[in-house]
């Protein structure tokens, strides 16, 4: 396999972005009529839909917790989401891992102790996959939870960063992700800057970790600004419509 040139001489990336530039983000909330809260997010060509149901009755009595709500996450990738049709079952280890990571990310953030003996369902559906599935899912889930009016201590904003030829780059796309370069996904709580989730694949020198993580954190903060403005806009609209 001939190696792809991922960085041009001018330091531009394969899709023309600068190393520290995010892809275009579009976020919408309340996209589904049936769900208690829902969101749709596009980060470049990665498209993800999230639906939140609950707090509601716990489905399996075995799982009831008496002091807080349980969070249940289901993650699904549409078979048409990649260039080659790949049927990935819901129980494939990778999907299970992502679902469990998202669940554990939101557990300390959602104020579950306000809803004892109940369950909050988060359903995630990836429609188009172009790198950074996990970050898109987390961002979509945050928006959907906010849309559902479930109390949280903060936003959870996620972003990826990698390292190509010793140059830290932000928000990898599919080509960059699959080229064997390291990919770090970070989710932070923007208010405190604390790291909630961190996951990395492929090899990265430990001395680079700090700078790559710092870049990812910057990305998270940028995403936070975008998501926050969407939420504020929506709330403003809602307020206006109520006042009329």
């Amino acid at each position: 396999m001939s190696r792809l040139e991922l960085l041009t001489v001018e330091g531009l990336r394969i899709d023309g972005r600068r190393p520290n530039e995010l892809r275009k983000i579009t976020a919408k909330t309340s996209v589904l009529a049936q769900a208690d809260g829902s969101a749709y997010i596009e980060q470049g060509n990665t498209k993800c839909l999230a639906a939140v149901y609950g707090p509601q009755e716990v489905r399996h009595r075995m799982q009831i917790l008496h002091d807080r709500a349980i969070i249940n996450v289901e993650f699904n990738v549409a078979p048409f989401s990649t260039s080659e049709r790949k049927k990935r079952s819901k129980n494939d280890k990778r999907s299970l891992e992502i679902a469990s990571a998202i669940k554990q990310t939101f557990e300390p953030v959602v104020q579950t102790s306000q809803f004892p003996r109940s369950q909050i369902d988060i359903y995630l559906q990836v429609l188009q996959h172009d790198g950074g599935t996990l970050q898109a899912c987390i961002n979509a889930a945050t928006m959907a939870l906010i849309d559902a009016g479930i109390p949280m201590i903060d936003y959870v904003c996620a972003s990826t960063a990698g390292c190509i030829e010793k140059q830290p780059v932000l928000d990898l796309n599919y080509l960059e992700e699959s080229s064997d370069s390291p990919e770090l996904t970070v989710a932070i709580l923007p208010r405190t800057g604390k790291v909630n989730l961190m996951s990395m694949e492929s090899r990265l020198h430990v001395d680079m970790l700090e700078s790559v993580a710092a870049l990812a954190t910057q990305g998270c903060e940028q995403i936070h600004t975008i998501l926050d403005s969407v939420v504020r806009q929506n709330t403003q609209l809602l307020k206006d419509s109520m006042l009329q």
């Binding site: 280890k93 469990s100 990571a101 554990q104 300390p108 989730l197 990395m200 694949e201």
Partner: protein
């Protein structure tokens, strides 16, 4: 499924108070690993790892090889498979056929640390492109769960891969001959680097941390993180799936700790392999 008994409030408080004073219930300091015992069984590639001395975490790994057809999209690459199903032998909380969250995370961490980081040269496993390749499978058997299965499993898997020998092959034209072990010396796999997992548990809002958590520490922890690293200071996998939010500095500190632990463990593995080699030759 038999549910794992939760530690009592008293136990919890005891462990936490001790940790605040920098002590652990099994007498270790916070950054200490339990003693690692590596024992080789009679076959090549069959290793048992024990963490600790009395109440041990015990995992064994067994490597086997067979000749198969390669995947059509990767005709020149051999296969590397891991089987990490955990039986109720390790702890009655595990169930057959339905992977628990813990099992999924262990399996994915091993996959990422050993396969995604290309620890084993899979292209060297090709015999005839598009026709025949070696399929190497690593079966992990979990015997006792006294905390930190993932580190124990990663050490077992990589040690077994380093120890394994496959039968030699000669290819003349289309003809492939596989030489039985007793006719020609078997050959080792080519292993590029040795990734070692180091796990951390966090307590008291992420202020306190321990390396190589025991089972009670795992039960009462607020968050966890696993870093897989090799001796070249490359991080092969890092996963902190939720749990208590941490400061970035804390994570960077953990990566530094992991660097030294990795170096120590790698040395230990290499010594054990050298000892075993000497022993086998003297026989």
């Amino acid at each position: 499924m038999v549910r794992e008994a939760e530690p009592s409030l008293n136990e919890k408080q005891f462990v936490l108070r001790a940790l605040k004073d920098g002590l652990r219930t099994d007498g270790r300091r916070p950054y200490d690993f339990r003693s690692i015992q590596i024992s080789f069984l009679s076959e090549y590639g069959h290793v048992q790892i024990q963490l600790g001395r009395t109440r041990v975490t015990r995992v064994s790994a067994k490597v086997t090889a067979e000749v198969v057809r390669p995947r059509p999209d990767k005709p020149t690459e051999g296969l590397l498979l891991f089987n990490t199903e955990i039986s109720p032998m390790a702890s009655p909380a595990f169930e057959i056929g339905r992977p628990s969250e813990e099992e999924v995370l262990i399996s994915r961490t091993i996959e990422k640390a050993l396969r995604r980081s290309r620890a084993v040269d899979t292209e060297g496993l090709c015999i005839v492109a598009g026709e025949k390749v070696w399929s190497i499978r690593v079966d992990l058997h979990f015997f006792d769960h006294e905390g930190n299965l993932v580190d124990c499993a990663s050490i077992a898997a990589i040690t077994a891969l380093l120890h394994f020998r496959r039968p030699d092959v000669t290819v003349i034209g289309e003809e492939v001959t596989i030489h039985p072990m007793d006719q020609r010396n078997p050959v080792p796999l080519s292993v590029h680097h040795i990734p070692i997992c180091v796990s951390f548990s966090f307590f008291a809002d992420g202020e306190l941390l321990v390396v190589d958590p025991s089972i009670i520490e795992e039960q009462i922890r607020e968050g966890d993180m696993t870093i897989a690293m090799n001796i070249h200071k490359e991080i092969c996998a890092l996963s902190k799936a939720g749990g208590i939010p941490l400061e970035m500095d804390q994570i960077i500190r953990c990566s530094k700790i992991a660097t030294t632990k990795t170096a120590e463990i790698t040395e230990l593995i290499q010594k054990a392999l050298a000892d075993d080699k000497a022993q086998r030759q003297s026989k």
